[in-house]
């Protein structure tokens, strides 16, 4: 179309009314002028107009041809089709409502889940060339993902040929004080000098750390996040060079990062991916460079362009072999390298795809359902279509008319679906499980909207095509003659609808099996004994700054005093302090200790989670004592050294023996006083509720801990609502040391509950989708049975005349519904058996092929089908023999 045509076409769009008038006037003028000429030639006046009209041809077809000339016939017909479609839909509001609502629900659900997929899986991470960033871990036979040790890192940084830059980071919170208000705990990471280069992010002000600041004594510099700079320093423009007090030591601010910088996430003492970090300080390398046994830093690197993660991992593994030949501690490790993107979204990747699959199934069912309903209506409209065909409507035109109708339906559904999706995505994000990555990237954006539009159009074509083709093939003669009843076409159509319903039921069963398996899995999780009693427990974290609390005595003494003071509070049933709260993902592990009288299996060492705990810690958190005794105040410095161990440790290292009274030591050449004696065995707590089994674990009494544990969690068990104890806790801490921050005040049952949130989230959504699928299938069954009953009413009447009872008729109709469902169920459960593996690692304690689930799902489907067939069956029993006889 060139410019002139475009302009003319557009003129016809905007000035339509005027131009239509012009068209009439022009043709009228022509007729009049012609008629006058005819009169002049002697034609009688009355006849002249008629002749002139005939000469011009039909005015309307003339006008159609003229509109066609300016490219407007197509859009005119579309407009007609649309108006016709709208009228047809308006005529049957129940039908329209059911079909539009079911489509809106399923399209909306698809868009909502797609927003999740788009935000989490499709959008690139917010770092420049993020695909080049990889995370580096150690791996051994017992630890699939383990932190690095700092000295190995220096060797890797010096020797590798794969990374543009390679850095480490480790979580080390600090307290910011001296600001005039209560001290605040800053979520802080110690980082090596290349860290921000790896992320590809420049400080907004100031600079990154350089190599010199990695040396001990040079590390008192800090980079602040934009948030801390604004909230704690009022966005002071002269912030660079200012001294701030971190853990009571002076640090110089050398940089401020830009707003919205995202932490790449970490696994050791983990902080979630996102805008979650307040400050960064340099990681300083101190101590003995040959001590390679201490693993607590996480590796992250930016690959040189053209280097793959696999190549880099091979490079690193080569270096690892060299290191292992030089250092005993480095034996047994290999490198595990993973793209940052996969590390961040890996945990939810599978769940999202399963959700997308589920919601896609729902849409497919909704399509089948819509096709089914349209077919039913096409049957009712057979006469109308036959009339149109007889009046000369071209077959393609009929097809287009029918498709316009289905597209109108699906676009209405899509529009409503977008509204649902916008609301739904808000709700989804709100209910996302704790620790779900990249929630900030989840929006209904233009991409999601185009996806929705595409889905809506695709849906309309999909469910509209079959009924449209069927309708356009109606033979006008037959359609007019028989009114559709009993004709071969309608038999074929009934069969087609039966097939559709079977498919619907099958798909719905597939979803129901998934939902059922998830429900059982969730119940399994809930039924588990957590190993502790999270109700009525308040927890809070305290970190003692190293500057003021250097020795074990300082640290242990502080906690002892604090606990004594807290014990006097009214409403406190038990109070304790411990490291590593259950289910918080922070699990310190120690390997290589010695058990008296035992040798570890070859190539392995004794290892266990290690913690310290105060005397009343176990009572406060509700971990039961199985044998022996808890700690008491006599387990202090100078007294015989003692340990508590968990049941797994007792059974693993002292199988068939009583572990109480046995001794272990952490020294290579122990004196008699270096041995710790097991005084009790406590119940097991798994790392997470879904872990297969608990890891071996032991506790030192706080007063005998071999090195100071500055960070501890206070555990307060109250009589009733423990949240009421928060203020008292804060004031007791302030009494002892006003420079301390009380951080992460949480209710333990909330902490425990977060562990179920992923399962609950997936269960809720899959359950919702399955319910929707079941409803759609029920509508489908109802539609087919109800149509078949109205077709067979005369037959039923005859049967009644021949002596059939109401019960016989009821049974006949119900049998039809149940039979269709039965076939669908068989197909659906068969598919579930084949596809069940998809769900396996989302489930806990059962497989998706769990027979009980399959049986229950089958039963639900059959009951639903019976309920959906019942109204039609009851209608059949009212068949009147007289009506049938008269009709035939």
């Amino acid at each position: 179309m060139n410019l002139a045509r475009l302009r003319s076409w557009w003129k016809w769009v905007v000035k339509r009314k005027q131009l239509e008038g012009d068209m009439d006037a022009e043709l009228l003028f022509h007729i009049k002028s012609h008629a006058e000429d005819l009169v002049r030639r002697g034609v009688p006046e009355a006849d002249a107009i008629r002749q002139a009209r005939i000469a011009l041809g039909g005015i309307e077809s003339q006008k159609d041809a003229m509109r066609d000339s300016v490219g407007h016939r197509w859009s005119d017909e579309l407009w007609l089709d649309l108006r016709y479609a709208a009228r047809m839909l308006g005529k049957n509001p129940t039908f329209t409502l059911v079909i539009v609502l079911t489509l809106a629900l399923s399209i909306g659900a698809n868009s909502a889940i797609f927003s999740l997929i788009d935000g989490v899986l499709l959008k690139p991470l917010p770092y420049p060339r993020a695909e080049q960033i990889a995370r580096v871990f150690y791996r051994s036979t017992s630890y699939p993902k383990f932190p690095l040790n700092p000295w190995d890192f220096l060797d890797f940084r010096g020797r590798n040929r794969s990374f543009e830059s390679f850095a480490i980071y480790t979580h080390a919170d600090v307290q910011l004080s001296g600001m005039g208000s209560d001290p605040v705990k800053l979520s802080t990471f110690q980082i090596s000098s290349g860290y921000f280069r790896v992320l590809g992010v420049q400080p907004a002000r100031g600079r990154e750390f350089d190599f010199s600041e990695e040396r001990p004594g040079n590390g008192n510099v800090v980079i602040l996040s934009d948030r801390v700079w604004r909230n704690q320093f009022e966005a002071a423009p002269d912030i660079l060079g200012r001294k701030v007090l971190l853990d009571s030591q002076a640090y110089t601010v050398v940089g401020v990062m830009p707003a919205g910088l995202n932490h790449p996430g970490n696994s050791y003492n983990s902080i979630a991916y996102g805008d979650t970090v307040d400050a960064w300080t340099p990681f300083t390398f101190s101590g003995n460079p040959n001590n390679r046994g201490s693993h607590y830093v996480e590796g992250i690197g930016r690959l040189k362009s053209g280097v793959t993660v696999e190549q880099a991992a091979a490079d690193f593994n080569g270096i690892m072999v060299e290191l292992a030949s030089q250092h005993e501690d480095d034996k047994g490790w290999t490198i595990y390298m993973v793209p940052l993107f996969r590390e961040i979204v890996g945990s939810v990747h599978k769940m999202l795809l399963v959700l997308l699959g589920a919601v896609g199934l729902v849409l497919l069912i909704a399509c089948v359902n819509a096709a089914n309903l349209l077919l039913a209506r096409a049957a009712a409209r057979q006469k109308e279509i036959a009339v149109r065909a007889a009046l000369g409507a071209w077959r393609g035109r009929l097809l287009r008319q029918m498709l316009t109708e289905s597209l109108l339906i699906s676009l209405l559904g899509g529009a409503l679906g977008v509204v649902l999706a916008i609301v739904g995505v808000r709700a989804l994000v709100f209910f996302l499980p704790a620790g779900f990555p990249r929630t900030e990237a989840i929006h209904v954006n233009a991409f999601v909207l185009s996806f929705t539009a595409l889905v809506a159009v695709g849906t309309g074509l999909l469910f509209g095509l079959v009924p449209a083709v069927q309708a356009s093939q109606i033979d006008p003669k037959q359609g007019l003659h028989e009114g559709g009843r009993g004709s071969s076409g309608s038999i074929r159509q009934t069969r087609l609808r039966a097939v559709l319903v079977v498919g619907e039921v099958g798909l719905a069963c597939l979803l129901l099996v998934g939902a059922g398996a998830m429900l059982r899995s969730f119940m399994n999780l809930l039924r588990l004994d957590p190993g502790f009693q999270p109700q009525h427990v308040l927890t809070a974290e305290i970190a003692l700054p190293n500057a003021n609390y250097k020795t074990t005595d300082n640290v242990a003494g502080f906690y002892q005093r604090l606990l004594n003071n807290l014990n006097t509070l009214p409403g406190v049933r038990a109070v304790g302090a411990g490291t590593d709260l259950p289910w918080t993902g922070y699990d310190e592990n120690l390997g290589g200790f010695t058990i008296e009288g035992k040798t570890p299996p070859p190539h392995e060492e004794f290892h266990a989670r290690y913690h310290t705990a105060s005397a009343d810690y176990f009572r406060a958190i509700g971990i039961p004592l199985l044998r022996g005794r808890f700690f008491n105040d006599q387990d202090s410095k100078g007294e015989p050294r003692v340990l508590l161990i968990n049941n797994v440790m007792a059974r693993r290292y002292w199988p068939g023996e009583d572990a109480v009274g046995k001794r272990i030591t952490f020294d290579d050449k122990p004196k008699d006083s270096d041995w710790f004696r097991v005084v009790g065995v406590v119940g097991d707590v798994k790392d997470t509720p879904g872990s297969k089994e608990a890891e071996p674990a032991f506790w030192w009494p706080v007063l005998q801990e071999p090195f100071p544990f500055a960070n501890m969690t206070i555990v307060l068990r109250g009589d009733s609502d423990p949240a009421l104890l928060t203020d008292a806790l804060r004031s007791k801490v302030r009494e002892l040391d006003p420079s301390l921050a009380v951080a992460h005040v949480r209710l333990l049952d909330r902490v425990a509950d977060e562990q179920f949130s992923t399962s609950r989230f997936a269960l809720f959504l899959i359950g919702l989708f399955a319910a929707l699928a079941l409803l759609l299938a029920a509508i489908g069954i109802y539609g087919v049975i109800s149509y078949s009953v109205s077709q067979r009413m005369p037959e039923f009447g005859m049967r009644v005349a021949l002596g059939a009872s109401s019960w016989n008729l009821l049974k006949m109709v119900m049998k039809q519904g149940v039979l269709l469902t039965g076939i669908g169920v068989a197909i659906g459960l068969g598919c579930a058996l084949v596809l069940g593996g998809v769900l396996d690692n989302l489930l806990f304690g059962l497989s998706a092929r769990d027979p009980l689930t399959l049986i229950v799902v089958g039963a639900i489907a059959v009951v639903t089908a019976s309920l959906a067939s019942l109204p039609s069956a009851l209608r059949a029993t009212a068949a009147d023999p007289m009506t049938s006889l008269r009709a035939e």
Binding site: A4, S8, D22, F29, A65
Partner: protein, 113 residues
């Protein structure tokens, strides 16, 4: 009316352009003008006239405006645009060449080969 010649496919547009190139005309006037200058030998199918006029205007070869007819009625007059004039020129050249070739072919005698 004498014996009439059928209009060749695709020539109507060209004839309309020629007709309005001699001065603005309304639709009925186009019809009369073509009949007149063809010496009443051509009669245009009235049904195809208006679609053709609309098509030419749509293509920007003619443009229309309302005016008063010779019998003092409101009528829509068409006139040639610059683009239409170029189109008419090239159509005329094409037609003349084609006609010359065809006439040459049809006049060929056996001894001319």
């Amino acid at each position: 009316m004498g014996k009439q010649v059928d209009l060749l496919q695709g020539t109507l547009d060209m004839l309309i352009l020629k007709a309005v190139s001699l001065g603005p005309l309304h639709g009925y006037g186009v019809l009369l003008r073509i009949q007149q200058i063809s010496g009443e030998q051509l009669e245009i199918q009235q049904g195809s006239l208006y679609p053709a006029l609309y098509r030419l205007e749509h293509q920007g070869l003619i443009k229309s405006e309302w005016g008063e007819s010779e019998n003092r009625r409101k009528a829509k007059f068409y006139r040639l645009t610059a683009a239409g004039r170029r189109q008419l020129q090239s159509e005329t050249d094409k037609w003349n060449r084609l006609a010359a070739v065809i006439v040459g072919i049809l006049n060929t005698k056996p001894e001319g080969i």
